[in-house]
Amino acid sequence: MAMMRYAEALNQALREEMQRDSSVFLFGEDIGRYGGVFKVTKGLMDEFGESRVRDTPISEQALAAMAVTASMTGTRPVLEIMYADFMPLVLDALINQASIYEYLWQNVTMPFVLRTQGGGGAGAGAQHSKSLDSLVAHIPGIKVVAPVTPADAKGLLKSAIRDSQPVIFLEHKLLYNLRDEVSDDPELLVPIGKAKTVREGTDVSIFATSRMVLESQKAAELLAQDGISAEVIDLRTLRPLDLDAITASIARTHHAVVVNEGWRFCGYAAELSATIMDFAFDNLDAPVARVTLPDMPVPYAEPLELSVLPNAARIADAARATLK
C-alpha cells in the first residue's frame, strides 16, 4: 500500500499494464513529452519510448477511429481525449464503428480504452466543464466506468486495458489531486460492473459516480444530523450497471436518489431512474429523485457555476423530499 494521488494511481496502472503487455500503447494530445495536461502519463514516454507513447496532432475524430481499428488488429491502445467536452468529436467512431463490428463480424474484438475527464468546478467555462456520461453510456457494446478513489482508478483502469471490449474511462478534473491508499499489487484488479457501498444506511439510497460520490457522502452526513440514515452506493461502472447492488439497496431503504453531474433531460440520471423503476418498483415507497445539472451550459463566473453544479445540499434536499 502507498499513499498517492488519483493521477499517480492512473499513471501506475498504465505503467504496470505497459510492462505486462507490449501490445499496450498510449496516444493523445500532449501526453508524451509534457506528460499530459493533468500529468497522468508523466514519465511514460521516457520509460517506453516514442513509439508506444505518442504525442498526436489535434485530430480527435481520426484518433478515435484509429483506436478502434488498431485494437481490432492486435494492439491495446489507450487514447486520451483531453476533455469530455470533446467527446462529440469522437462519437462517430464509437457509435458507427466500435459499437457495430462485434455484432456484424463476430470474430473481431476491440480492446481499446478511451480515457477522458469531465466535470465542472474549475472555472473552465462552457466548453471545458461538461459531464457527458449519457452520450457514451448510450452506446451498445461499450463499457463505461467512472471511479472516484485512487484505488478504484488504478484497479479499474487495469481491468479496462485487459478487457476485450471498448471501455470509456471517465475521470474528473477535480479528482486528480485526491490522495488515498493504493495497492502496489500489479495483479489487483477492480472488476468492471461492480458497485461499492461506501456508506450503509436504512432510510434512503443515494446512487452516484465519480465526484458526485463525494458530494453524496457529504449529503449523507447532513442527513445524519437530521436523523436520516442514507446509504451511498458508488456505482463505479455506468455500463453495465450492477443491478444486484441497486435492487438490494432499494429493498433495504425503499427510497432512491440518483445523482449525475450531467444534464437532466435524457441524462444518465434519467436512465438510472428508469432502470430502478424497471427492476425495483415494488420496493419503492416514493418516486425516484434526480439530482443533476440544470439543462443549460456550465457558466464561467464562480457564483453562476456553483449555482448549477449538483452538491451535497441539493442531494440532501432531494433525499428529504423522497422521505416526505
Binding site: R33, Y34, I58, A62, G123, A124, Y300
Partner: protein, 326 residues
C-alpha cells in the same frame, strides 16, 4: 505602397497592441495573486497578428476567434472594459460573466466569437462567409486559428468548401510554433502549412506575424479579393507565444534561445521602430501611457464590479426544453 496603413491607422494599431499587452500582464499578476478563475490563455508576443489583421475590417465584417482571443477581441472593437470584466467573471462583463475569456461574443461588433473547441473557429467563419454570399453583401468573415487547429479534420473540410464556392473568408493561421505544449514539428511534417492552400485553389501568403504593417498589407489584399467575390485567402502569420500555453502551463518545453530570439522581435518594439521616423518618441510614450492607463482603469473597475447572480431560466427561455425546467 498599395494597401499600406495610414499613419493614424498605424498609431491606432500600436495603441491597441499596448492595450492587449498590458491586459495580459495584468492578468498574469492577478492570476499569481489568486484573483482570476480557470486557465487564461495570454497572447503576449502575438498581438500584431490579431491587431494588424482586424485593423482592415469594418464593424459589419465578422471575426471568429479561438481560446487565445484577446487581441482579436480588442482589434475588432469589443470594449476593453467589458472584455476585462468578462475575464474577471463580473456581471458587467461583455457576456455578464457567463462566458469567460475563451468564449466572448459581441454580435454588435461582429465578434462571434471566441471558441475553445480547437478548430471550431474555422467552419464558424466559413458559415458566416456562406451567409454573406447568400445575402450578397460585400462583407467578409475572418477566421483566426492556430497551427494546432490546422491539424483538425474540420479545417480541411471548411477550406475545401471555401475554395470550391469562392466564399468571402480570410483564414488567418496564427502560427505560434506550438499547439498547447507540442512543437509544430511533432504535429505536421511540413513547416509552412500555407502550401496546403494550393489544394483549395486559394492564394496564400506567409507574413511576419510580429509586424502589424506587414499583417495589414497582406490582409488588406485578401479582404479586397474576398469583397470582390474572388474567394478565400490563407495568411500564415509566423509568430511566437512568449508566455505559457495558459496560466496553468507547467512549462519546460520552450527553449531560452527561442524566447530570447523572439523577444528581439517583440511586435510592440517592431512597431515603435517602424514609427520612429514619422512620430516622436515622446508622442509614442504618451500613446502607450494612455493605453496602459485605460487598461488599469478597466481592471480596477472590473474588480470593483459586482459578481453575477444566478437566475434559473424561466419557461420562456431557450433552455426550458425539458418538461420540468430544473
Amino acid at each position: 505602397m498599395k494597401n499600406s496603413p495610414s499613419l493614424d491607422e498605424q498609431l491606432e494599431m500600436h495603441r491597441k497592441m499596448v492595450i492587449v499587452r498590458r491586459l495580459e500582464e495584468r492578468l498574469g499578476e492577478l492570476h499569481k495573486a489568486g484573483r482570476t478563475r480557470g486557465p487564461i490563455h495570454r497572447c503576449d508576443g502575438q498581438e500584431a497578428v490579431g491587431i494588424g489583421a482586424t485593423a482592415v475590417l469594418g464593424t459589419s465584417d465578422f471575426v471568429t476567434s479561438t481560446h487565445r482571443g484577446h487581441a482579436h477581441y480588442i482589434g475588432k472593437g469589443v470594449d476593453i472594459r467589458g472584455v476585462t470584466a468578462e475575464i474577471l467573471g463580473r456581471a458587467t462583463g461583455t457576456c455578464g460573466g457567463r462566458a469567460g475569456h475563451m468564449l466572448i461574443g459581441d454580435r454588435d461588433n461582429g465578434m462571434i466569437g471566441g471558441n475553445a473547441i480547437v478548430g471550431g473557429s474555422i467552419p464558424a467563419a466559413t458559415g458566416m462567409a456562406l451567409s454573406i454570399q447568400v445575402r450578397g453583401t460585400a462583407d467578409v468573415a475572418m477566421c483566426f486559428f492556430g497551427d494546432g487547429a490546422a491539424q483538425t479534420g474540420i479545417c480541411h473540410e471548411s477550406m475545401n468548401m471555401a475554395g470550391l464556392w469562392k466564399l468571402p473568408v480570410v483564414f488567418i493561421l496564427e502560427h505560434n510554433q506550438f499547439g498547447l505544449t507540442v512543437h509544430h514539428t511533432v504535429q505536421s511534417p511540413v513547416a509552412d502549412l500555407s502550401i496546403r492552400a494550393a489544394g483549395y485553389a486559394m492564394p496564400a501568403e506567409i507574413v511576419d506575424g510580429n509586424d502589424t504593417v506587414a499583417m495589414y498589407r497582406a490582409v488588406a489584399t485578401a479582404v479586397e479579393r474576398a469583397r470582390r467575390g474572388e474567394g478565400p485567402t490563407l495568411i500564415e502569420a509566423k509568430t511566437y507565444r512568449m508566455q505559457g500555453f495558459s496560466t496553468s502551463d507547467m512549462g519546460g518545453y520552450q527553449s531560452d534561445a527561442d524566447l530570447a530570439e523572439w523577444n528581439r522581435r517583440d511586435p510592440i518594439q517592431v512597431s515603435r521602430r517602424g514609427l520612429a521616423d514619422a512620430v516622436s518618441a515622446e508622442r509614442l510614450d504618451q500613446i502607450e501611457a494612455g493605453a496602459v492607463a485605460e487598461v488599469d482603469a478597466a481592471v480596477e473597475e472590473a474588480l470593483a464590479a459586482p459578481l453575477p447572480t444566478f437566475e434559473l431560466f424561466t419557461r420562456s427561455s431557450p433552455y426550458a426544453t425539458a418538461p420540468e425546467a430544473v
